[in-house]
Symmetry: D2
Subunit: 386 residues, 4 copies
Amino acid sequence: MAHPDFTLSAGPVTVTARTLAGLGSPILYHYDPEFLATFRRTQGKVGQMFQTDNDIILMQGEAIVGLEGALRSLITPGMHVLNLVQGVFGKGTGYWIADFGAVLHEIEVGYDDAVSPAQVEEYLDAHPEIQMVCLVASETPSGTVTDVAAIGPMCRDRGILTYIDTVSGVLGMPWKTDEWGLDLCVAGAQKCLGGPPGVALISVSQKAWDVMYANPAAPRDSYLSLIDWKEKWLGEGRFPYTPSVSDMNGLEAALDQALEEGIDAVVARHEAAAAVTRAGARAMGLELWAKSEEIASACVTSIRLPDDIDNAVVRDHAREVYGVMLSHGQGAGNLVRLSHMGPTAGGLHSVVGLAALGRTLADLGMSVDIGAGLEAALALLSTQRR
Amino acid sequence: MAHPDFTLSAGPVTVTARTLAGLGSPILYHYDPEFLATFRRTQGKVGQMFQTDNDIILMQGEAIVGLEGALRSLITPGMHVLNLVQGVFGKGTGYWIADFGAVLHEIEVGYDDAVSPAQVEEYLDAHPEIQMVCLVASETPSGTVTDVAAIGPMCRDRGILTYIDTVSGVLGMPWKTDEWGLDLCVAGAQKCLGGPPGVALISVSQKAWDVMYANPAAPRDSYLSLIDWKEKWLGEGRFPYTPSVSDMNGLEAALDQALEEGIDAVVARHEAAAAVTRAGARAMGLELWAKSEEIASACVTSIRLPDDIDNAVVRDHAREVYGVMLSHGQGAGNLVRLSHMGPTAGGLHSVVGLAALGRTLADLGMSVDIGAGLEAALALLSTQRR
Amino acid sequence: MAHPDFTLSAGPVTVTARTLAGLGSPILYHYDPEFLATFRRTQGKVGQMFQTDNDIILMQGEAIVGLEGALRSLITPGMHVLNLVQGVFGKGTGYWIADFGAVLHEIEVGYDDAVSPAQVEEYLDAHPEIQMVCLVASETPSGTVTDVAAIGPMCRDRGILTYIDTVSGVLGMPWKTDEWGLDLCVAGAQKCLGGPPGVALISVSQKAWDVMYANPAAPRDSYLSLIDWKEKWLGEGRFPYTPSVSDMNGLEAALDQALEEGIDAVVARHEAAAAVTRAGARAMGLELWAKSEEIASACVTSIRLPDDIDNAVVRDHAREVYGVMLSHGQGAGNLVRLSHMGPTAGGLHSVVGLAALGRTLADLGMSVDIGAGLEAALALLSTQRR
Amino acid sequence: MAHPDFTLSAGPVTVTARTLAGLGSPILYHYDPEFLATFRRTQGKVGQMFQTDNDIILMQGEAIVGLEGALRSLITPGMHVLNLVQGVFGKGTGYWIADFGAVLHEIEVGYDDAVSPAQVEEYLDAHPEIQMVCLVASETPSGTVTDVAAIGPMCRDRGILTYIDTVSGVLGMPWKTDEWGLDLCVAGAQKCLGGPPGVALISVSQKAWDVMYANPAAPRDSYLSLIDWKEKWLGEGRFPYTPSVSDMNGLEAALDQALEEGIDAVVARHEAAAAVTRAGARAMGLELWAKSEEIASACVTSIRLPDDIDNAVVRDHAREVYGVMLSHGQGAGNLVRLSHMGPTAGGLHSVVGLAALGRTLADLGMSVDIGAGLEAALALLSTQRR
């Protein structure tokens, strides 16, 4: 089977030729002065993306290495932790929290819904013992978002630590790490940034460092250790292990493009693409997965499928017959996802996704008004771009 | 400071244009059928490189993620482990072994020497309680090797598990995982293979899996877990986390080139390059770090420096004045390393390294017979290549 | 202005990542044995594409260097030449023929029509003095084709030389150089092949060589000389001038992909894409430029525009507002072209082109049934791909 | 046979990864606004390289297409032209001049010598009928240069037109088109610039345009026509034929690097590399081809071989046994060329070339003091770089 014509998946996403050129540029020794400069510049650019002056750690590995390393570093045995669950990643965070020895508190809602700031506020009022709040800003598997802009400052004001999984959040929503007082954020490069899939982007506040240093269970001399990076790299200029020179080159190229376009413009582009996709899907007669548009993610649009149509079959059919790689639900529910992340957020990419999905569903026997859907998407696009 | 003209470092190493093209090729979704096929093919090719039918695990991250994950998986609390120490990586393995809860036994020699099979045999005879032997096949920081071909079968015949750090060993020396009965081997792609720096290549025998599964301390639901890969990926075809599509493309390209050249030919090329480099260095009046040629690595040639010349200064001077990136000792001793790994193992690359080092040492006031050294290297090269 | 999201232009066309990797691969000396082998292999693959055993000449420059060089080589002063005119390139050929000293005969039809084999037969019957027939197999600017399969053998059987501009013809229609007895064919790499824009691909029969050698006006010691290539390169292995190593690498990569897919499959893919595009355009209420589907090209679909809509405005609007680069008429008439060549021939690329064009025309005030058009295109695509 | 380890040939030369990335970047339509901007920017940068405000024409094809096109445009039948001959390219220019209908005057010296400004002055004094002087600034096949800085102004002051083949001259020597009053200069991208091999870079003064426009024999409506470019592209913004988008991208990348380094710095780097190479060759006991260092080119160093050693054998041996692609004499004499152009001008590249050549000559039975030669080269390099 040949390469797909279009990859509109939930990440890793299609990246630009310039980012690919970064990934394919010559590999230098990691202590070459040129690479040391590249690594430091790239850290700074990640900080700009996060809108923070906090320390930036770039761990080598998929974003989850950062999520695990950071959580292990923060979770002090016996700590009271409130975890917000509205999707599969939030659910998984809860298992880790308990496993790492904390007292787990959870607010859980349906995977098509979002935990509200009011629910959090109420819980925190009733549980003054909470020391940390964990949340997933953007639940990629189901396409819903959490209101970090409200919950973040609420925790900061109460002196509660925040641990934020924003793997697909940053650039897919406004993100103000310092303004919102977020202590520890972990993002992936292979989502809205349109970067390579092998690096975890982490911002760490001084408060978070203090908790880690005081935590006897925090990993040290380990691949999962954030403290190693703080002490060896930030402190002494020695890498705790060899970073991927290629990933750094690809990452910097992706960051350069985002910064040249402007952080706000990138976020707006994702929001516009999501609006076009939702408009098209609704006009096609499809049902959006998210309970309301307010909580629908700007990076993926999840479509609820009828029970008799298997989401994996939809994905495979669109790939095989129309050459478009979509993402199915991966356990979040009987849904299929039209992604609009990175370079595919904008323009006719939404039309491509809608056409592939609409025609696939028609092929599978569902009644879909493809023409109306594509017209609606194009009509909205026409107003956006001029 | 511009890019160096030549990167002759101890890894990450210069890679070929074909490998770079792999790294820079379009990024597919990790569940795209094309990528699933790529991942499985690449596993098979790593198995060919290791000369094994054992399971192959490709963990996302620098090789050390595989070393740590595998050791944590194998080390059962209270287990008796013999660790062979002849360099900084072996020394570090010992710290981990103790830290992870085993009873640590060690044979340690100077970092310019190698633990001999006879020493191991004697120790094992005297300590029947040993359940696992850990060794570093190739100590990259100092450029010495361990006799795995002798020690591996010795352990296998006694029913003792083997854990082998062969990060820079595979392709830099003959490697027969199955013939020698090696249970767990971890290699890096960014050394003799000339691949990307972000992936750990691991072979696991059934015996090693049995030990892990029986080990309550083995990581599960963790980035460090080999069991996750066994159950989810090898078992169910689901990735425990997103692998780096780019790294896999680069890795497969590097493996294709090695397999097309022939595994034995690649090893022979490294050995020939090392011989040329040693001949040149000796004729130049330099002192090899390794006590004997038998234990000198084929992937890096370490040169012992006089006390009054700082190895970091040598490295920086060669980079700045001659545009050649060498590696210094990184804690292993006052040495500098001429590397010949991957695409730079062979031909005039050794002459480039020798010229840069010789002229640098002369610039720093040392008496070096540069002409004699380069002539000797070229004379040997002349006999090899025709 | 940023890069367009989609290039659906009439050539140079979007090329695959594999072809780009070829173009970006290291530059060797043109007498490096590796490059000599590449050049010779590539010649052979061009011959396979042309389906010929004739000599293949690869001239460095846009296809027109081959068209001019070949025509100057063949046109012997006083020669009687019949030129078929159904578009701007055919018209231009006529100017050259006269300018180069031949007696020009022409059959000319409207640029939305095609000269028929019957017209040619009648003319040849009436003019036995004709020594050469010149035709353009595929008029890219207007999107019509000529029936080479009928006219070629007709000329061969009468002993009349044929000079064929097939710049965008080969791979966009069945092509049997030897079976049809075509003497001199010139193709471009940047059209249906999806290759680089800097090389002219030429097949030359022995009969054509005989004419050139007998022609005192044939260029020699000139960039335009085919005889130089025959004598120096094919005869002595010396290049008459330095070929572009990069273009050859890109060309071979493109040829490899076409040959792996299969020549017939590539042609069928172009025909299928054209059928989808035409079905969509008609259902949208647009008027095809070509008088009949039989003479409509499989590489570009030309749409006739109302007089009050300027084709250049359409092109610019689609590019600026929808990020799709289409081609306008370039002098052939008030038309716009949806191209489906190379990698963009197939799948949803036609839907992208139709969506951009349909919405653009709506934006410009034309009444267009976008939904019906896209539905019709998708419905046909659905039957093709399963 | 695999790729060579090092390409130190006389062009096409090794180019940087950044230039390769340019060549391999996505292909846009030639009328895409982005590409139009690229083309115009690149023209401007070529003008900076030439240090001129004259018109810049970028013809698609190897540099010789520019040489031929320009000469055909300038040579008016009956014109008196003085041609300076000191190598094979100058000799060839003379054949063209006569062939194109001019009255040919020549000053010819041995191919290891240079025509002096005094000889030119004397000839011009004696022949007031001369209307144009033609010269080759850098004879690549033999590695000698002509004193353009003296001859150019001498012609300008007498109102004589100048036609300069500077294919390997620009960036390999100081170049002041406007200051020296040079009317028509043709350079190649694949020499000292380290660019792609498929484009001719031409500067044209108003006086040269006037001559062309007045010349009835100047090519028009032809691939060789400069007037077409002037009228269509410079005048109307229409390309006379499709330029190679890939070559332009590669060319701009190469120009950017040269301009970032600084034109004077690039020239100085070539001169320094040539000095190192000559010092090494002499100390090795080899004989330089050029009669004096003053006329030795900074882009290639030609070494005179003994009669019993065939220069083609030397080239093939160095390539096969040492993996270094050198250039042989190509008809200029029994010489071999060590090139130092573009990215290989500088650093240890000269040592690589000298080592390969020295050891090759030793292998072929010649007495060579390799060690002394490499030491001398390194000693000079040591003084240059600090």
